[in-house]
Amino acid sequence: MMRYRSYLLTFLSACIVFGSWEIAGRIPVSYAFPTFLETIAAFWTLLKNGTMFVAYFETLKPLVVGVLISSFVGVGIGLAIGLSRMSDWLLSPIFVVMQTAPLAALIPLLVMIYGIGLTSKVAVVIIMAMPVIVLNTGGAVRNTPVSIVEMAQSFLGTRRDVIFKIILPAASPIIFAGLRLGVSAGFIGAILAELKITPTGVGDIITYSRSIADYPSMYAAIMSIILLAVIFLNVLERIENFLFKGAKHVYASD
């Protein structure tokens, strides 16, 4: 029953959102705002004629490269920050600055340095994704309960044992939370780069449809990104649950 309840609630919230969208489109709130059904029809057309797949092939390049770099390097730097005070002092400020920097305003600078190709798009994804991964990992590692670290040490565990058998497993839920946040920030970065640097992939569908006033296609492209991000985050959550059984969410009301 519990299981069904969660699906039912998800379905209900989707109905409310899409229903309001349909109504807003039918009023219409603006001539530039299509209804939900028009958008779904445009989405289907884009899927059927293959435009969407070609576009995602382009968009996923900077996204995948950027997210992979951010994840591996980010978790590594985060570990260093969490384990050593020196690295914390040295590196944390950079990521705090990166996280708060108004990225859209910095894009001309990135273009000046990296040009208009893939590199600057990857850079945008990294700037969006990496800080949250690094800072979450650093915080999680630093907050490992002292008692279990002391326990490992009293069992004569080496430093390596302490890191890999105690600290990393203890920090993993927050590291994964950071990864999830980082990946969704990466999605934002990839689209931002495509809208602000050169229109390719999904960013191109958005700008092109807007130019020719094909608003349903424009919203279909935007919706597809959200959909993909949600699916990807769900997969990441499954992986997390699979790797670290027992860390399942428990709700206070259950």
Binding site: Y31, A32, F33, P199, D204, Y208, S211, A213, D214, Y215
Partner: protein
Amino acid sequence: MRFFSKQFGVVFASLLLVVVMFAGNAHAAKIRIALAETPSDEVGAFFLALDRAKAMGLDYEWTAFADEELAIQAVLGGQMDIGFGTPYAAMQRSKAPVRIIFQLSKLKFFPVSSKKYSSLKDLNGAPIMLHSRAGGTDSIANVIEDRVGIKFGQRSYVPGSQNRIVALMAGQTDLTIVDLANKNKLIEQTGDKFNVLPMFEVDASDEALFANINWIKANANDVDIFVKALLSVYQDMIKDPTIIRRETNPDGPIGQLPKEVLAGMDGFYADAVAGGLYDPNGGGKKAALADMDWYSKAGQLTGDPASLKIEDFWYMDPLNRAMK
């Protein structure tokens, strides 16, 4: 008791806010203008017209949008009254009741290339760098293909004429299409290292003034003042391009631009007038016909160009009254 007084305070404050908002709306007789870019020397003539309109009793406020599409959407959504741009696709596809009332500038763009090419005929198969898919320069490329009987190679897109000029000078592309100001800059900076390819005459609009037809009819008086002011500035400017700089309000958004920009304004308007960027009669029927032909070829308008009706895109009354 304290709890109630706090609640009462919140309710009272909200009521006050609502009253203030309504009062604000009641006084909102100002016309709201959506600019497609931040004020620059290129909209000097437009701001001069605004100054003249103000002297004739027009009350206005303007908002600069990051790009033309946003300005168009703001007018479609009713947040703005009058906008900058060429919303032909929006007029046809979304059936939005917006109409163009004045042509602000023509699509004067220039194919520039490295020494590899010297005429439009050489461009068959040549890769070209343009502003954006379905944008103005993309439509120019389509029409060049159509008229000259060639087919460009791969098209890549880099927004902003100034960025494409940089790419051309850096050798990242051999061929692009840029606006008048950037073409002149290229010639000025590099002399004869690059070619400006001879281009045919274009009468279609690059920027036009448009608004919701119902709003235009309801505010006919304001619109008449505005169009009259624009027409007078355009006619004066074509006689003497230096008038824009001389008459620009030194405290206005254009007058506050850096000195170097202001110093270049006479040159810019002299070149623009000589290059035929502005129509002394606000475009009118000639521009409407040219636009329908152009934007059909460019792919923004669909259907048989002969079946398109001027009334579906232009509303001529204010311009006709101003011409009298």
